[in-house]
Amino acid sequence: MDFSAFLDGFGVVTQPGNLLYCLIGVVVGMLIGVLPGLGPAATMAILLPVVYSAHDPVAAIIMLAGIYYGAQYGGTITSVLLRIPGEASSVVTVFDGFALAKQGKAGTALGIAAIGSFIGATISIIGLTLLGPLVAEFALDFGPPEYAALALLGVLLVATIGNGNTVKALAAAAIGLLLATVGSDSFTSADRFTFGSLNLEDGIDFVVVAMGLFGVGEILYNLEERHGKPHVPAAIANIWPSRKDLKEAGPAIGRGSFIGFVLGVLPGGGAVMASLAAYAAEKRVAKDPSRFGRGAIEGVAGPESANNAAATSSFIPLLTIGIPANASMAMLYAALLVVGVTPGPQLIDERPDLFWGVVNSMYIGNLILLLLSIPLVGIFVRILRVRPAILAPITALITILGVYTIRNSVFDIFLMIFFGVVGYLMKKFGFEPGPMVLAFVLGSLIESSFRRSMLIFEGDASGFVTRPISGTILAFVVLVIAFPLIKRALRRKTPDTDTTPETVQREDSLR
């Protein structure tokens, strides 16, 4: 690493003009992050012309990057307060985040999320600074067989999410996998469950499913409840995370940051897998796993640190090998082209000012975001004091607008309402929407990676086991399945009947 170029990068960022653009970027990003649907990619497309007219194109690039990671902070707010995750990677935050909000600890959840996001992102930028090109090579070793194995592991982890009933979680996950098959088959272009509608040709968008199952489902469920008991506004006991919260969340933030950095480098599915893996890891490590899904602070801290770390490390493939890992990175790619730079292996040597300017702006941008988030937490939590009669229509409006802005389709709005009804029924019968949504996201990854692998292997499935990385992941999958079974078998040998309290607890958690 060229150290003087790195320091010069800070010189670039700290020019007042660039700082201003960085500030504008992260604020805009945070705002659009709050509104689900209108994602960072679409916002960057709208603001792309700024790159032409900015006094300094580097400043414009810094702004666009700021929109991307700023949106990651904003997304948490709606997940925790309104139960509407705007992105696949923040679905996991909903479980414990929303549970905490209901207990009047929304401030704690948002505060920890902001701190975790800041630490996760910063660790990831340090990783990017020191190890960028090295990690990029690692990402290239991930071929279709590795993705198939990783996604399979993901679906198994999905079952551990939520608050208990594994069978119901697996059932919901199975339906999610089926939903992922809707649309034109990407290998043969044969139609599957499209009912002859061009609107279903590309499958169902994640946001449509998530907004419906979580957001609209929750609104419908509350409508029913409202007549039962008078609405008691959630008392907001403490805005700030206490020292105890911080102590509990600390290790989770560390683990989440690491997992996020490593998995975030993988283009396609990296961020989702990161937040999932971080959540599963926390649950495994915890002394009392039953707290999860009912307001465990680590359940917010881990995944939030992970998805911000992942968002940051997804810059690595773009900046070091010229591959955009997601739609937002593709917009940044386009913006770099406008500046006259084609992102690729030579970027760091040809334009060190740009490379280090953008990378170092992220240190400062994340600091700005943390400073902005803390006071905003106090304002945002007041949303919970709004009566449901007012809040519910606003939430509905946000979800409808959000879904419409994805591809300007009215069809998607009705599809979301349909999923809202499904979400309501699921909640009524004790099913968690989380496993369904996450399995839906992983489903197409599993299917296409598996089929691609089989084509590469010319039909010989043993390749999955003999390739080192996919073999290791599959061994891990077997371990995850076998571990509880072995544990149970061992326990049965001992006369101790400690299974009874566990079953009681399980039933408890269903209520």
Binding site: L38, T188, S189, I323, I390, L401, Y404, N408
Partner: protein
């Protein structure tokens, strides 16, 4: 307290509305048709691809040019889905008064029909083509680990050669499928969801070769991480002067992606003329020319009628070739 929360809610809702308005929710006042002062309101430009792809970027560049030349605003609306068929269907049934115009891809009309069922085929007859825009060439590239560096080297292949494509029914798939069939090399198509994942797989040596758009591959070709074998345009690509065309390498394969401006059938002639003139003026600006160069696009600024002729010709030629070699684009499994 209630008052405060109410106003807070109002602010939140207001912000949400304002932001979504930026997202392209625009009301259209309609374009003028009897007078020469087109446009009279804002003109929607649906594009059948998501933000960030080359179709989207070209649309946005043309939109910039049009609003500078003609005044008024030309918002680009991403309406992705079904290879662009959704956006096309929307344009086809829009009011033919110039209030909806769209830059569309040749592959939707010439190549996609080879891969999808009859009732999903989009026909160029539903549109008036106003003006050609630019061409985006495909290149066949090989990974370093594969050992391939030319068409001849495929003879030494042991087993099937794997080739990554950017999806089913794309020009990249057709170009690669034709190459290996014409050259009589046993090969297997591995479809990916777009150019970036296909390139990633090639860089990681997961597949031997891939057909990509020149812009997607060029930086890694320059740094020597992947090897270009042939390009599929009618002539060599300006940005890769040393790479032969498929024709030069002895293969009768020519596949190109090009884009052109379309309006709904029956749009008045004076509106079409205004658009074409404004586009030609845009093509003259250095900003637009720089854009083409940065994105490795070759100008194809021919008239609308020439575009239609070329489309019909390509469609027939592809259909004949696919039939001759027994290629089924919709059967990569």
């Amino acid at each position: 307290m209630r008052k405060q929360t109410l106003s807070l809610a109002a602010v939140a809702a207001g912000a949400a509305l304002a932001l979504s308005a930026c997202g392209g929710v625009q009301t259209t006042a309609g374009g003028g048709s009897d007078s020469g002062d087109y446009p009279t309101g804002s003109v929607n430009m649906p594009v059948g691809a998501s933000a960030g792809g080359s179709s989207d970027l070209i649309s946005r560049q043309v939109s910039r040019g049009l609003s500078e030349e003609l005044g008024g605003s030309f918002p680009v609306i991403n309406r992705e889905g079904a290879n662009g068929a959704l956006a096309a269907a929307e344009v086809a049934k829009a009011e033919p008064d110039g209030s909806t115009i769209s830059v569309q891809n040749a592959s939707l009309f010439a190549i996609t029909p080879l891969a999808v069922p009859e009732d999903q085929v989009t026909s160029i007859d539903d549109f008036d083509v106003v003006q050609g825009v630019s061409r985006d060439d495909y290149v066949l590239v090989a990974s370093k680990g594969s050992g391939f560096d030319s068409i001849e080297s495929f003879q030494d292949a042991d087993g099937k050669v794997t080739y990554g494509t950017t999806g089913v029914g794309t020009g990249a798939q057709l170009a690669c499928a034709l190459t290996f069939n014409v050259n009589d090399t046993p090969a297997e198509a591995i479809p990916f969801d777009g150019g970036a994942p296909a390139l990633t797989a090639l860089l990681g040596d997961q597949v031997d070769t891939a057909c990509l758009q020149v812009g997607e591959a060029i930086e890694n070709i320059r740094s020597g991480k992947i090897l270009p074998i042939v390009v599929f345009g009618p002539e060599r690509v300006e940005f890769l002067p040393d790479v032969p065309t498929a024709q030069e390498s002895g293969l009768d394969v020519e596949v190109a992606q090009y884009r052109f401006m379309t309006v709904p059938k029956g749009t008045p002639q004076d509106v079409k003329d205004s658009i074409a003139e404004a586009m030609q003026a845009t093509f003259e600006t250095s900003e637009y020319q720089d854009f083409n160069e940065q994105n490795n696009l070759t100008p194809m600024e021919i008239s609308g009628d020439e575009v239609v002729t070329q489309l019909e010709e390509d469609k027939q030629r592809y259909a004949d070739l696919v039939e001759e070699y027994g290629i089924d684009l919709g059967d990569a499994s």
